[in-house]
Subunit: 222 residues, 2 copies
């Protein structure tokens, strides 16, 4: 038997990601059915990016087969790092020896257990991947990479309204631009207690999009 580990953040109004939520059907108004309506950005909460997110005319969610984000994943354990650690090629080489070509790579920093995703410090004090680290990953040819922390240094600057050039968003520039799908804001990675897991990240079927909300789980064999 397998155990399901839920790796997804709840979709609820957040200081970085406003969610509009209302009732279109409401028992108190005499309706037979309660019907909730939601509106939000597909880049809030646990989600996947397609290259179109940063490449004008680039591939969209319609170009990403489900197989890209479903299957064997290597768990890269960085739970012992300090805040604001720069994850470079050497750091990755030391922790990702078990990463195989074609794998899904999953970062396990468990950062969300140290700084709440509901606070600015989740961003401002986060570890991040360097260009050299992103290149190390790209050269191992993963088909997708999942992160449980805001993985590009400039993401924290968005909290001050500062948008840095795309070249500085290094995982986007090095991985996503080259077709490696990014899965962002995974949570609960501390429960991934082994080097390899079966990962299942299913995006909503939103066509021709720069990204899509997902529900992501891992299955752990007993």
């Amino acid at each position: 038997m397998s155990r399901i580990v839920d790796l997804s953040t709840p979709i609820a109004d957040h200081f970085r990601w406003p969610v509009e939520r209302s009732l279109r059907g409401d028992f108190e108004q005499g309706d037979v059915f309660q019907v909730t309506r939601l509106g939000w950005s597909v880049h809030g909460f646990t989600h996947m990016d397609s290259p179109r997110h940063m490449v004008p005319g680039g591939p969209t969610t319609s170009d990403i087969p489900l197989e890209t984000t479903v299957g064997e994943a290597a768990v890269l354990d960085f739970t012992d790092i300090a805040p604001e650690t720069a994850l470079d090629g050497a750091a990755l080489a030391a922790r990702a020896r078990h990463l195989r070509p074609g794998d899904i790579a999953l970062f396990k920093t468990a950062w969300g257990a140290r700084r709440s995703i509901d606070t600015p410090e989740f961003w401002t004090e986060a570890p991040y991947v360097t260009r050299d680290g992103a290149e190390w990953l790209r050269d191992r040819k993963p088909r997708a990479v999942g992160f449980d922390f805001p993985q590009d240094y400039p993401i924290r600057l968005l909290l001050k309204g500062e948008v840095r050039p795309i070249e500085e968003q290094v995982t986007h520039d090095v991985l996503l631009r080259n077709g490696v799908v990014l899965i962002e804001y995974l949570v609960n990675t501390r429960e991934l207690d082994r080097e390899r897991v079966w990962f299942c990240c299913l995006p909503l079927k939103i066509e021709d999009s720069d990204g899509a909300p997902v529900r992501a789980i891992a299955m752990l064999d007993a």
Copy 2:
């Protein structure tokens, strides 16, 4: 190796389910990232219902573990039925002998291949489940039931603005009210070419809701 069969409808503006879609980040406006925003009812397209959809104060999506909609499923083949067929207990007994207690039951009418979901006829000419059929299913104790057609007769009347009492929405009244999760508007079921499949229906993590959009797949072993 397993093959993934996608059982989900695209989320795009539809005559019954309006979708608001806009760009919050737009290359043409000089933005570094393209960012799509979407808003729609959680009961449009492929989705799951929690009992709260019809029971004031009833269990919500937060009360439904992921295990409810992930696992072994029995495929109930009704691809040969005529339009407007009433699926009663006798019809189910003849086709669902392989349904085991605790299974997920998946209706395979392939109705979407006969009437497009983009036309009113998908609803007005659809087969439907009778109260007796819903009771037959309930008594077999499935943990969830997936449908690829509008399974309650009165759903078609909503196109004329006619809302019938909840008692006439028989799968809701007999199954959902008793905690059997409903998965609605599955598509592509014709590809389920065997009696049992591994089904994986992952709802977005929307808490305390009457329902949630899902991505639903089946895995077929080669």
